[in-house]
Symmetry: C2
Subunit: 209 residues, 2 copies
């Protein structure tokens, strides 16, 4: 019996290298939920093969900044001269439609989302140890060591932000982590503040039959 | 990886006839949690075969009232001339020991628990329809119809109290309801306010190795 007809906004976040994308992928492979992405908006130029409205919404800097002023982003950031953001109206539409919207974003972005949409479920994906994080970043082999050390020290700072999250899930094992997130989603749907209204409506409908 | 070494205090409550005891039993039969009861204290005389410290703690009215004054009950009530209550110190000891303590109590009692121990997890077990509740109460066959009608009207009033709970779980199917409660318990252990401290300790221990 589904009491909460709305979907949830689930924010997966955590330090770089913790395996957010892998956990999100494992979650999407569980077929008993209707998970969905939201498409980001950016001012960077499309790369070859990238399609507007599929990979990103590609907009001009002017358009992006006008949307910032109108408060139409759940979160946004500037990287290497380009804006990236999550459009709010789209996420709201999907939630109303009953979809579980999963955002996989950086820690600063997650705090912006909580401020804009306090009903969002913030999950901090945490490394089992700092060494595990270091090993993962080194294994990627894509960055020089000083960048990795910088990321680790950033991760240290980000852990102090974990207190602002609703849940902490350790990525000791991807399947385990995804399974724990599934339990969190189930529990959140059962929260009185989400489901009581639907329950009282249900009772009323049954009484009128 | 267990971050929260403490157990939870889980309060199962809801209108009379909703099947609280059946759901609690199904929950205890799941073998992957260390669920435990707390033994109630009462001023009623032991019945034949009842053992002090097993079925109840049997105490005098004087002793019970002195404990009320000392604020040593999580909740208590007076039924047919006798006191019944849940001793606080025992529950606190079990939680510290890592046990999940399940209380199956009336709605008024649940509100007392929340006031005394805000960290408790309050779950409102709700009937799928009012007719389902009526049918259950009639099927019991133990009470005259006017008592049943009185209980139903009390249940109506109690539903308005459900808003003070953390979760609402519909007992449409006992296994389903127990399974949802299990997800709630898992999620509650992952809550930052319960597990962040344990996580930071874990990181520190690993760094010192």
């Amino acid at each position: 019996m589904k009491l909460n007809q709305q979907g949830l906004l689930i924010v997966l976040s955590g330090p770089s290298g913790v395996g957010k994308a892998t956990v999100r992928k494992a979650l999407f492979e569980m077929d008993d939920h209707n998970f969905t992405y939201s498409i980001s908006m950016t001012t960077r130029k499309p790369r070859e093969g990238e399609v507007d409205g599929v990979d990103y919404y590609f907009v001009s800097e002017e358009e992006f900044e006008s949307r910032i002023k109108q408060g139409r982003f759940l979160e946004f950031a500037r990287f290497v001269g380009n804006y990236y953001g999550t459009p709010m109206d789209e996420v709201e539409k999907m939630i109303a439609n009953g979809d579980e919207v999963v955002l996989e974003i950086e820690v600063e972005g997650a705090m912006q989302v909580k401020a804009k949409m306090p009903d969002a479920v913030l999950i901090f994906i945490a490394p089992p140890t700092f060494n595990a994080l270091k090993t993962r970043l080194l294994r990627r082999g894509t960055e020089p060591e000083e960048i990795i050390m910088e990321r680790l020290s950033k991760a240290h700072r980000e852990l102090t932000l974990a207190a602002g999250y609703d849940y902490i899930v350790i990525n000791d094992d991807v399947e385990n982590a995804a399974d724990r997130i599934k339990a969190i989603i189930r529990a959140e749907h059962a929260r009185c503040r989400r489901s009581l209204k639907g329950y009282l409506q249900l009772l009323e409908e049954n009484e009128n039959e």
